[in-house]
Amino acid sequence: MNDTGLVVAIKNVKKSFGNNVVLDGINLDVSKGEVVVICGRSGSGKSTLLRCIDQLETVDSGEIRAAGHLMGFKELNAKIVPLKDASVAIQQRDIGMVFQNFNLFPHVSVLENIMIAPTRILKRKKDEVEKEALALLERVGLPDKKNAYPRQLSGGQQQRIAIARALAMKPKLMLFDEPTSALDPEMISEVLDVMVDLSKAGMTMIVVTHEMGFARAAADRVILMHDAKIVEDATPKDFFENPKSEHTRLFLSKILQH
């Protein structure tokens, strides 16, 4: 968060894998407290964009400012220098990320999953962190699962724990990459409910999803990515009722067929 009130400011970001151009001049601003939904067909670069924001991938050119950091770099006497792994990790603490496949740590309990980063990385006191972790479990509706191992939980429960794990670091920005795509249909709403609550609590969020119900209910803006570019960036109302791009119309007609 800088003076402009932006939590995310992406300028002309480009990224290729070999000859495959995956991000082709992306510009995106997200204000504090805003919820931005990104959709688009498979391979359009949605995941890569989120992964670049959180520095799980590095960009080829352009810049990403997020949660108050120039991601992956530091500014030194008007020069921009790439950061080492350990310094990137410090930037990453301020951004939470939730994955399609949950990626909980399977070798430790649910409570340990939530506490591991605050206690082992931030070296905060265990009892204090545990109190917060229990409150987070309450918040995602799973207070009785603290001693379970991830394998023993349903997909919906695992995803809610993954959200709690990310929140334990008190991030300024939350990124969700298709958080409900791997879930059985009856579990989707329990995860979306947690996300809606989070948005109401004022969290800044970028959510890649095809759950248009969530977009209508919680999004401030809906973005369509097509062939490595952002082709639509509108309010949910305009996005669904009055899209400017031909690609959006096509995308919506395909989604509504299902």
Binding site: R51, D54, Q55, L56, D85, A86, A89, I90, Q91, Q92, R93, D94, I95, G96, M97, F99, N101, N103, L104, F105, P106, H107, V108, S109, I116, A117, R120, I121, D144, K145, K146, N147, A148, Y149, P150, R151, Q152, A162, R165, A166, M169
Partner: protein, 231 residues
């Protein structure tokens, strides 16, 4: 001279033999622990290092897996003094066994690390862990599950491989049997007792290994392994 039971039973609890058993146990444990350290180091150097460290690790693994441990021990103890590098018997044995073990463990550890789901790296980065934290808190603990069974087999092998140290006069179990056999020429009885002791050590280790494996499987297990949930 035929088989003699009295000698047989006498050798079983012979002081020299028991000392040999004890030496075999600690020599195996110390060499294994040091070998594990070397193995982890070599695996990480090979997987995450720059070109230089990668070549060093690969050379080390290639060298010690490609030559007989017996030659390694002999070179360390009797060959290196020629260059002014001297190790006593115990040091030479530990050094040789650990270096040899590390080369094998490096490959086992490497495949263990590679067996960890790629998503774990993403998740640990995303909560803000640096490389060391990702390794020690997330990747290696999960690799352990894959590493433990072959690691146990390696230790089984280590218990028996220590017998080679007898050639450089380390007084472990094999050497004890040799010495006892030379006193009364009860060769068969002496070596049979040594063999029985190796069997016993390896069998006890088998039991321990099963428990260790069960411990590391627990988080991944099915219903019966469930910890006590409040519900």
């Amino acid at each position: 001279m035929s088989w003699s039971w009295p000698y047989f039973f006498d050798y079983m609890i012979n002081g020299l033999m028991l000392r040999g058993v004890w030496v075999t146990i600690w020599l195996s444990i110390i060499s294994m622990i040091l070998g594990l350290g070397l193995g982890i180091l070599a695996a990480l150097m090979k997987m995450y290092g720059n070109r230089g460290t990668r070549y060093i690790a690969e050379f080390y693994i290639w060298l010690f897996r490609g030559t007989p441990i017996l030659i390694q021990l002999v070179i360390i103890y009797t060959g290196l003094p020629q260059l002014g590098i001297r190790f006593n018997v115990v040091e030479s044995c530990i050094l040789g066994l650990a270096l040899n073990e590390g080369a094998y463990l490096a490959e086992i550890i490497r495949s263990g690390i590679m067996s960890v789901d790629k998503g774990q790296e993403d998740a640990s980065r995303a909560v803000g862990m640096n490389w060391r934290e990702r390794m020690w808190l997330v990747i290696l603990p999960q690799a352990t599950r894959t590493i433990i069974p072959p690691l146990g087999n390696q230790f089984n092998g280590m218990l028996k491989t220590t017998s080679l140290c007898s050639v450089i006069s380390m007084q472990e179990l094999m050497r004890s049997a040799q010495m006892i056999a030379q006193i009364q020429f009860r060769v068969l009885e002496a070596y049979c007792i040594a063999a029985l002791w190796y069997l016993l050590l390896v069998s006890i280790w088998g039991l321990v290994q099963t428990r260790i494996e069960a411990h590391y499987e627990r988080p991944f297990g099915s219903e019966e392994a469930k910890p006590n949930n409040e519900k």
